[in-house]
């Protein structure tokens, strides 16, 4: 058929513990935006990596314009007319936009040729760029523009976009959609990888839904709603989560006052006069686009960094800004940093051993320096049972668990010690929808039992779903808090983009 550009037939790819793609078959029409929708781990990334020559399929065929298509490297894929914009940018931070663009092109090109070409591309597709700016000075949206321009310089027929909106503000998303529409109008095809339902409906023409490596459905988006897509994507219905405000006490038990911190490092964001208060039983959310000071703030809240320039942290009437992590745990403050492997858990150690990373005074894990193995094992088994962690046992290595299971285990470990306050960063980052739902549920339940929670997250939907109060961090500045049930997503979006009226 002439309007099909890509035929994917029976693609199968397996990895040591999973089959990532199982006989994947579908066609992609020319001149359209084709979505591949699925949860994390559904096999979307594996499929596009095969298309882009990064992985080799175990079985199956791909036809491009009815001709057999087989590539062994991204460079070959680009030659055949397939370009890809990755979720994580591959730019040299210390080089300028211009230098990055020149480096990314396969053929030789002079700066003046480049500039001519760029002018053309920039105006045609709504992609303004400051050529001499260093990458570090750019926002995530601008970096993505550099990536897109770099691909467009090679004039691809098919453009693969992997979760392009995950680091963008709502306003940047809109401008990206304008660009994508302009590209399609010119006869290009876009393969749009996402797990966000609204985006599929608003911008894509056709949608292919994947679940655990298999194609569930390929159909036009015109007769779909977010609900019908969600049911197909998840294969099950999840209850809506409800937060309520009644159980929150007036008493403030955690207060950050005027925290400032200078790092003198172009790759870190200085924190500027950050203040907030959390009341007993309240879930306080900190939203923001990645790289605006979240991890720097997290380190200060956990005590992993106690070198602040000024300001104070008060918990239960104690000044704790100079306390390290263990002293904070002794006061019943608990934390879960963003990164599971190598930060909140050690992948090489067993689940039982990982319990010992976070000890609270009540725990009774150690006597005279000797580990009480039975107590630790009991605690681990409890966490495994109570939080439905799927694992052969407490002696399994942390690295053998899926992301969602390990995160449930780590959060379960912290919650089981009944902390007075839980500080958690990106609680559901990179895990499947089932685990995501159960983690959000346990956080809400924990707050109802009187624990205060601080959630730092990039996922605005998540924060709106579970928090009571929400602030936005932008370039190391924290906005004033808003009541979550009253603030609009638009307002938050503007703040995330640094626009304050």
């Amino acid at each position: 058929m002439s309007d099909t550009i890509l035929n994917i037939e029976n693609i199968t790819k397996s990895f040591p513990r999973v089959i990532a793609n199982k006989k994947v078959t579908f066609d992609i029409k020319k001149n359209a935006v084709h979505a591949i929708l699925g949860e994390n781990g559904a096999g979307k990334s594996t499929l596009v990596k095969i298309l882009y020559g990064l992985l080799e399929p175990d079985e199956g065929n791909i036809k491009l314009n009815n001709k057999d298509f087989k590539v062994n490297s991204p460079a070959e894929a680009r030659k055949q007319g397939i370009g890809m914009v990755f979720q994580h940018f591959s730019l040299f931070d210390s080089l300028s936009v211009k230098e990055n663009l020149i480096l990314g092109i396969d053929e030789k090109m002079s700066y003046s040729d480049l500039e001519n070409k760029l002018e053309n591309i920039s105006s045609r597709y709504n992609l303004p760029l400051d050529l001499d700016a260093p990458i570090t000075a750019l926002s995530a949206g601008e970096k993505q523009r550099v990536e897109i321009v770099r691909i467009l310089l090679q004039d691809p027929k098919i453009l693969i976009m992997d979760e392009p909106t995950s680091v963008l503000t709502p306003q940047e998303v809109e401008s990206l959609f304008v660009t994508l529409n302009a590209l399609v109008k010119e006869g290009r095809t876009i393969l749009y990888i996402t797990h966000k339902l609204e985006e599929v409906i608003s911008i894509c023409d056709t949608v292919t839904i994947m679940r655990s490596g298999e194609i569930i459905d390929t159909s036009s988006t015109s007769n779909q709603t977010a609900k019908t897509l969600a049911t197909k994507m998840l294969g099950q219905k999840l209850d809506d989560l409800k937060t309520n405000y009644e159980h929150i006490k007036d008493e403030v038990n955690f207060e950050v006052k005027n925290i400032s911190c200078d790092f003198n490092d172009p790759f870190l964001t200085d924190l500027k006069n950050i203040s907030f208060q959390v009341r007993v039983g309240e879930i306080y959310g900190i939203a923001g686009v990645a790289g605006n000071g979240q991890s720097e703030l997290m380190d200060i809240l956990t005590g992993e960094n106690i070198n602040i320039k000024s300001g104070s942290i008060t918990f239960d009437n104690k000044k704790i800004e100079k306390y390290g992590p263990q002293k904070r745990r002794d006061l019943s403050i608990s934390f879960v940093p963003e990164n599971r492997l190598g930060h909140s858990a050690v992948p090489e150690l067993s689940l039982s051993d990982n319990i010992l990373l976070s000890q609270f005074p009540k725990n009774n894990f150690i006597k005279n320096g000797i580990i009480l193995k039975n107590n630790v094992d009991d605690f681990a088994n409890n966490v495994i049972n109570e939080f439905k962690v799927i694992t052969p046992g407490n002696d399994a290595k942390a690295s053998s668990l899926s992301g969602g299971n390990l995160q449930k285990y780590v959060i379960g470990r912290e919650i089981s010690s009944k902390p007075k306050i839980l500080i958690i960063s990106h609680p559901t980052w990179g895990i499947d929808a089932g685990a995501e739902h159960s983690i959000r549920e346990s956080l809400i339940e924990l707050s109802q039992n009187g624990t205060s929670i601080i959630v730092i997250s990039q996922d605005l939907d998540e924060l709106i779903e579970i928090t009571h109060k929400i602030s936005v961090i932008y370039d190391g500045n924290l906005s004033k808090p808003f009541k979550t049930s009253e603030v609009g997503i638009e307002k938050l979006g503007l703040l995330m983009g640094g626009k304050n009226e």
Binding site: P16, R329, H343, S344, P347, L349, G369, I371
Partner: protein, 357 residues
């Protein structure tokens, strides 16, 4: 049809079986390479390997000698595993050994005409202190100035060797020693007691076995051992847990230095009986191979120390009976390490033969 060359595929879990087999694979490959070298040198490989590996331990005396050599190797290696588990690359055990010999041996020289039960314990204690202090220098440099401990600990080896050199030709020279560069002999009660009459294997072996047992207990049962492991695997997780990494670096270096120092003292108060220039045939460096060949595990280190000790004995016999330079022992040690590092790949990766369609 399968492709000719295997491709390397990562395992989902590191292989426990391979963890056990890697040292054995590397020893087998070493023997194969060794026999090729012997053939190229014009020897019958079976006879050469027999001379190298079997004949040295075919007598009671030979077996005793094996334990004499294995004692310092095992003791230093178990000390090194405190550092290596914590991802600290202390290469300077030879210097810590030398400093232990100087401190402990210095006490022996001071009390050269004293015979008392407390002398040997005091010398052992001095050896431990000397080694530990020498080990703490790179620890301080690392934690205060962020220097690379590989370089500093290695350079301090030569400083320690020259200090020993200075002492035995200068102030500590034996006044009745005809100007030879050596110290007075220690008194009888400053010597390691022999375990069997007529054999050189000495009380240092008992100390070593005891410290290996203590280390096994620390590594597997105590929170200190756990902290060492965690900060070795992932410094970020250790920081999250609130472990004090500076303290861990100090303890790892101090313990390693103390063990190496005791090993040095055991050498000079055991088989040697006085201080002189060449107290150690590179035990401190060779113990690094022992530590890794034993996979930093106490039982593994015991076996590895015996294997490597055999290369020392084999080299001597090869020199005597085959007229091959004794440096061939170092070649074998180097081969073991070479194959060990190569074979480690098999723990986290496996080789598969892809089907060709």
């Amino acid at each position: 049809m399968n492709s000719l060359f295997p491709s390397i595929v990562s395992r989902s879990q590191s292989s426990g079986l391979m963890n056990f087999f890697v040292p054995i694979i590397s020893i087998v490959l070493t023997l194969i390479t060794g026999s090729i070298i012997f053939v190229l040198l014009g020897f019958d490989p079976v006879y050469a390997l027999y001379t190298f590996f079997i004949s040295p331990i075919s007598s009671t005396y030979g077996i005793s000698e094996l334990f004499v050599k294995a004692t310092p190797l095992a003791l230093i290696a178990i000390g090194l595993s405190y550092c290596f588990k914590n991802n600290i690359y202390n290469i300077g055990a030879e210097g810590q050994l030398t400093m232990g010999a100087i401190f402990g041996g210095g006490i022996g020289i001071l009390f050269h005409d004293t015979n008392a039960f407390w002398l040997l314990p005091l010398m052992i204690f001095g050896g431990a202190i000397g080694g530990a202090l020498w080990g703490l220098i790179p620890a301080i440099l690392k934690t205060k100035f962020n220097t690379n401990e590989i370089l500093t600990s290695l350079m301090l080896v030569y400083v320690a060797l020259y200090i020993l050199d200075y002492l035995v030709v200068g102030p500590w020279k034996d006044p009745f020693g005809y100007s030879f560069p050596k110290s007075r002999p220690f008194s009888e009660s400053g010597r390691m007691p022999l375990l069997f009459d007529g054999l050189r294997v000495h009380f240092g072996l008992i100390i070593t076995l005891f410290l290996i047992f203590v280390s096994w207990f620390i590594f597997s049962k105590t929170i200190f051992g756990f902290q060492l492991k965690v900060s070795g695997y992932s410094p970020k997780a250790a920081r999250y847990a609130g472990f004090n990494q500076t303290t861990l670096v100090f303890f790892a270096f101090a313990i390693c230095g103390a063990f190496a120092g005791i090993a040095g003292l055991a050498e000079v108060s055991g088989p040697i009986g006085l201080l002189y220039r060449d107290i150690s045939p590179n035990y401190g460096f060779t113990a690094i191979i022992v530590a890794f060949l034993g996979r930093l595990h106490p039982i593994g280190i015991i076996f590895a120390s015996l294997v490597i000790a055999l290369t020392y004995l084999g080299a001597e016999d090869a020199q005597l009976f085959l007229q091959i330079p004794s440096a061939v022992g170092f070649i074998f040690q180097g081969l073991v390490l070479f194959y060990l590092l190569g074979a480690e790949l098999l723990i986290n990766y496996k080789l598969t033969y892809k089907k060709l369609l």
